[in-house]
């Protein structure tokens, strides 16, 4: 069973990897990270914070796009193109297929997030190196008489390429050492502190979003699924605010009795939605990252994420089990 689910997951991963959209998104993320670097030069203070902030935001957002836009087509495409006929008729259960698809997408997201983390770490390292004094010495390619100094140009280029290579290697170390590359005494490692943990949190957050995408995709059209997944994401991100909103409304009115009819509906809607929707704020600690604070990940938070995901997948399996494939 596990082997078959793994086969489906790996095939799903293959499907995503051979999808051009993914590369567009990855390219986009690299552009954002370099853009963050450029934007940080506009600041007068806390440049690293801005780069880290925008970069981590970009990773999260791109992961969301992958989860939504790859996730919604995941099951639907198989139904639409009838590839599912030959798969369900194989000796597997329907939920195997669903879980395999889900895990495949999650694997895709995880690999992509880690890839982006790598690139982002490299950007942070490179940024640190190019801000060093050596850079400015190498930058003198015009000599005292104002002629181009080719040695200077080459030194500059060499420095640039060498720094980039170093940055990429150290960035990779960050990912493969689970963010602990600082213990090796790598220069500039402080800039990447906590990044790995944030990426792990992003993957956990996307685990929930992906489950929703798979759920919606198993019974509705891609457009509608995308819409509903995004709605879930929004409510999930805001559910603390939503609850506070309802609470404040009652406080302002001075008790439940004072609420008008519409307000009562709004109150119950908010409270119920806030409780039912996944609490994604738990996984949103990018602000702590930007401030170089500790990223906290409690066992309860992880358990919550896993349990919620399992619940959504179970619903998806129930829906999927009852479906007739057209």
């Amino acid at each position: 069973m596990a082997g078959k689910i793994a086969a489906i997951a790996l095939n799903t991963f293959k499907e995503a990897v051979r999808n051009r959209v993914l590369y567009v998104l990855l390219f986009f993320s690299v552009v954002i990270m370099l853009g963050a670097w450029v934007a940080s030069t506009l600041s007068i203070d806390d440049e690293t914070k801005i780069v880290r902030d925008l970069g981590a935001g970009a990773i999260n957002f791109i992961a969301l796009l992958i989860a939504v836009f790859v996730g919604i087509g995941l099951v639907y495409n198989d139904l639409d193109k009838k590839t599912i006929y030959t798969i369900i008729s194989k000796p597997i259960s329907r939920w195997h297929f669903l879980v395999g698809k889900y895990l495949g997408l999650l694997l895709t997201i995880a690999v992509n997030v880690l890839f982006m983390t790598w690139i982002f770490c490299a950007v942070l390292y490179l940024r640190g190196y190019l801000a060093g004094d050596v850079m400015y010495e190498a930058l003198y390619f015009v000599d005292d008489e104002g002629y181009l100094n080719y040695r200077g140009v080459f030194a500059h280029l060499f420095y640039l390429v060498w720094s980039a290579v170093k940055a990429l290697v150290f960035g990779l170390l960050h990912v493969v050492m689970f963010g602990m590359e600082g213990v090796l005494g790598i220069p500039g490692a402080a800039a990447t502190q906590g990044l790995f943990m944030t990426s792990v949190l992003t993957i956990l957050e996307m685990a929930i979003i992906t489950a929703f995408a798979v759920l919606f995709s198993s019974f509705s059209s891609p457009t509608l699924s995308a819409f509903m997944t995004v709605i879930v994401f929004i409510i999930g991100r805001l559910n603390q605010e939503l609850y506070l909103f309802a609470d404040t409304m009652v406080q302002r009115a001075g008790g439940m009795e004072a609420l008008g009819g519409g307000q009562v509906v709004a109150y119950y809607f908010s409270v119920v939605a806030a409780h039912l929707s996944p609490n994604l704020a738990v996984f949103n600690q990018r602000r702590e990252l930007a401030e170089f604070q500790d990223i906290q990940l409690g066992v309860m938070d992880i358990s919550y994420g896993i349990a919620y995901t399992a619940m959504i997948l179970t619903i998806a399996a129930i829906v999927f089990n009852r479906r007739n494939f057209k």
Partner: protein, 506 residues
Amino acid sequence: MSRLLEGKRGLRDALLGVLVLVLLAGAVLYQNRRFEDLGFRVFIYEQRINLPPSDVLRFATLGYDSVYANWLWLVSIQAFGSGWRTEDGTAGPIFNFFDTLTDVDPQFISAYRFGNLVVGDQRGDYELGRDLLRKGTLENVRNYDLPYLGIYNALWMANEEADARWFAIMLRRMEHAPNFMLRLEEFIERTAGRYEMAFEYNVRYWMDYHLAGNDVERDLIEGRIQVLLDQWYKQELTASAERYLEAHGEHPTEMEDLLTEEFMPAFEAPTFQSFRAAMDRRTQQFAGMPARREIPQEIVDEVIEDSTETIVGLPPCPWGTWYFIHEPTRIAYPERRDLFDDSKGFPYLTTAQGLMDIVNRHNMNAQEFILDFYREHERRPTQEEIAHLLTRDPVGGHYVYQREAEESPTFGVFYSTGQRRLADGADPRMGVRGPDPHRFLPDGLRLAPRLSDFPEEEQWGREHGYILDDGTELWEPGVTDPDLEMLLPPEDDEMPQEMPAPPPAP
């Protein structure tokens, strides 16, 4: 046309490419003209600083709030760069901007700092600036920058000791704040003239460092206690001088004038000697105590009680010297008050320690002058060229420049004869490293050293016009424009120099 191009696809594509380029160039040029017509819009940020409520923004950012905060941050910097005008010219809208920004991302330290800089230091609304810092301090319990800036703002800019104290309390609660920041609390009390409080803090610090085995820091605290007690006594002396001034209409001429019950009542204050004695007595007691932060209040109270004495007459200067009235300053002060900083009492009330500081400063200035001169001319200055520095010193002698000297063959030696006499113990009156002087000297010999106390100095003084025919001593020949600046009391504390400059304006 089409027939011409038949079968020449490469040529056709090239022509189409050129067409695209031409069209693009046209579009770019047109855009450029439009942009030029836009002109420079000064008020472009006026709209931008009117942000929606932060609740709405938090909803709208969908968890990407810190990204949005960064955007606002960059906007704020651009707005600052372009002058950042507000409709009514007040700092209120700017404050609101930073308030909203920090609502969206309460951990944005730079925003608090920059907000305080713009609202407080640039617009002069220190109260609003402090509000931002207060919010930042409460939101970021681990950042000691903000309360520190808060103290800076409250104490140096706005003279609000109460606010400064609040920031100091917040600072004390932070775990990783540097030591000197923690001691700001004491500094605030001292600046505010609450010497009892400051003394209590220092006693606590002293014991902390002693228990921690940090002798260097403990000795620093000891020095601070000396400074503190000195300020305390000077305050008392100043009060008595004020009473004297009120009674007689003129400043006292000698310290003895003040030392009566009428002008100088007995007062309770710690003395350095009894403080050290109290501490020495407790060394045994301390030996058994664990090194920890909180010293029981009873022990502190006990130490304070043991240190405190009833001081009758002249207080004992913590450095072992004496308080006296410096005559040249006393003469100059009523005439040239603009030259003196008398915010902390009358400047003529001083000690040998204070005068020695002045001499040292003069010596250092002179050495610097000689070095600069050497750099410029590649030789040492002659006596004529350095003559403007060869004045009298405040301790009864004059400055001498030995162009060729064994001690320093390259640049010569610059020194003060009065200081040398004191250091060598040849003039024991002020007790600098010498035996304590008599409290009241016989034969009308005064504590304040004068040129006329020594024959060779008196001769020098008369030759150079420092002593007039009637025996009056001047600080500089010709009272008309005495450069009295070097008489100003020395910086009595290192703290203001430790304060960093506020963040630089972009």
